[in-house]
């Protein structure tokens, strides 16, 4: 079922190892980093919006007290 005879053969890719793994490596890197960046941006956005919301609420309270 498995095409390769050994793990070494698999890594060597018949002499095309650099090109094949260079392609798969960069793709894997991008597909790992992009979701992390999206998640981090989401976290920081939510934190910022909450701060703004609290600041707005304080301003509103002060204006109703006066």
């Amino acid at each position: 079922m498995i095409y390769w005879n050994s793990f070494g053969d698999f890594i060597a890719m018949g002499g095309y190892g650099l090109y094949v793994w260079g392609s798969f490596g960069v793709t894997a890197l991008i597909m790992a980093v992009e979701p992390i960046l999206v998640a981090r941006h989401r976290k920081s956005t939510i934190a910022r919006l909450r701060r703004q919301l609290r600041a707005d609420a304080r301003v509103e309270n002060r204006s109703t007290e006066q």
Partner: protein, 248 residues
């Protein structure tokens, strides 16, 4: 009448936001499942190519990335058209959410293409129709993101960006048909509806990888869209409730 009502309901960010949040884990799971199956078939089971040796295995990411780079652009252009015609809020957010992923797919298409071209053609890059039009696609994505980021007013940014997307859509058929219209170093398409030039395991490996890229793009774009929705709708009651509710 109820159908129309439902359609409008899902076009509203307040309904779309929780729906997208529930769907994202499923798209991630599907992407991983298709990816593992595709890699197993393509990298472990599929035989070698009689012309290109093992170097052909780059196809399992090169073709899915190239397809996604073109398809994401078409989806963005579709949203741009809807946004310009009906002035819907959601469309600009969706186009904005898709752009970075589309740009990355265009980059991956060029990157894997260069790594494939070097051993097969003897060069990383040629200024031929297929490669050049794909490079223009990458510039269109970058141009769209730069243009919308440079305009402070969100509505205006969406409109200007949408126009750019619609003008640039002419590039997609140029990319797609370039291998037929012009003499090019790039090989013709390997997948054909009537007859395919690929072995069955290769074809399935590639289709599974394409599905993996598809699910991945949807998951990332939906996640990005949800953040954009919070940002843009921050003055609405539903976002205020959402922000208060997610407090830990």
């Amino acid at each position: 009448m109820t159908d129309r009502f439902n359609l409008y309901r899902f076009a509203s960010p307040a309904t779309f936001y929780p729906l997208a949040g529930r769907m994202i884990p499923w798209f991630i799971a599907a992407s991983i499942a298709f990816g593992l199956a595709g890699l197993w078939l393509g990298m472990l089971v599929a035989p070698t190519d009689f012309q290109q040796g093992e170097g052909y295995r780059i196809i399992f990411i090169h073709v899915p990335a190239s397809w996604m780079s073109m398809f994401i652009y078409l989806v963005m252009a579709f949203w741009a058209a809807i946004g310009l015609a009906f002035n819907t809020r959601l469309s600009g957010m969706m186009a904005q959410a898709l752009a970075p992923t589309g740009a990355l797919m265009a980059f991956l298409s060029l990157w894997t293409g260069a790594l494939w071209g070097k051993p097969m053609w003897g060069t990383w890059w040629v200024w031929d129709a297929r490669l050049t039009s794909e490079l223009i696609l990458l510039f269109l994505y970058i141009g769209y993101m730069a243009l919308t980021a440079a305009i402070d007013d969100v509505r205006r940014a969406d409109k200007a960006g949408g126009l750019l997307l619609l003008v640039g859509v002419v590039n997609i058929p140029i990319i797609y048909f370039s291998v037929q219209w012009w003499n090019t170093l790039h090989q013709g398409s390997s997948v054909n509806l009537t007859k395919s030039s690929m072995a069955v395991t290769m074809l399935w490996g590639m289709l599974l990888m394409a599905l993996c890229f598809w699910m991945y793009s949807i998951a990332v774009a939906l996640a990005r869209a949800r953040t954009i929705m919070l940002e843009r709708e921050r003055h609405t009651d539903w976002v205020k409730a959402e922000l208060a509710g997610e407090q830990k």
